[in-house]
Amino acid sequence: MVTRLLPQVGFPWVMRTCAFLFLFLLIIAIFTVEARTPPKPKPWELAAFFRPLRERAFLLNTIGLFCFSWGLFVPFNFLVLEAQYQGVSAELANYQIAILNGARSALSFFSTHLSRFSLSPRLKLTPRLHKPLSLILSLQHRRPRNPRLARRPLWPL
């Protein structure tokens, strides 16, 4: 939408259009999103933010998510530039971000059957191809100490 509107109306009105679209959808969300259980206010405690890091599983999970976000930062920001450098046409290059998000959405929809926790797709750029987009699945391995916590087996990948 943004790329179609940009040459027609200019950047300021494109951002305003996006803002109005978000506002309309968010007003719907404000009326529909509710929590099922009423909240129980507890006092604020700075140590509570760091206490889960003492558990090994949570610490590994945090480090893994950090690496995942850091790794995905570069492709998201430079995918279009890289595609144009490799010779992809300008219109298709602008679509790469949309393709990336589309593939990510499809993958996360199917993620329930593939891992116990959640699926995080990792992007691998292959600059030799004309469409530098191929996704590799990466599982977050979690080995619980208590065997009763294991709900279903990991898929071999």
Binding site: M1, V2, T3, F11, P12, W13, V14, M15, R16, C18, A19, L21, F22, L23, L26, I27, A29, I30, V33, E34, A35, R36, T37, P38, P39, K40, P41, K42, W44, A48, F49, S69, N94, I97, A98, I99, N101, G102, R104, S105, A106, L107, S108, F109, F110, S111, T112, S118, L119
Partner: protein, 95 residues
């Protein structure tokens, strides 16, 4: 910026529910986008879009993924997958 503020939003969600996060997130995100449209200099773009809009988006994300745990017990992973695919689908339609 989004990831740093998420623990704070999680604590607010535990204390007060999703409504405060929704109000603040809506206002901040839309305000940030509107200010981006009015920006002339680079630092104005950075302030408006990266900080204000991102804070609002993180609040909305926390408010969106928080209730999944309370509404779904058996198909919780599927519900989370649908929400995550929705967020990236929006990035697909509005790049």
């Amino acid at each position: 910026m989004m990831y740093i503020s998420t623990p704070l939003y999680g604590k607010i969600y535990d204390n007060h529910g999703p409504k405060p996060l929704l109000y603040f997130g809506t206002f901040a995100h839309v305000f940030g986008l509107m200010m981006t449209s009015l920006g002339q200099e680079y630092y104005q773009f950075f302030l408006a879009q990266s900080i204000c809009s991102a804070l609002g988006a993180a609040a909305l994300f926390s408010a969106g993924t928080g209730p999944i745990g309370s509404w779904f017990w058996q198909n919780r992973a599927l519900a989370f997958g649908v929400v995550a695919s929705g967020s990236s689908l929006s990035g697909c339609l509005i790049p």
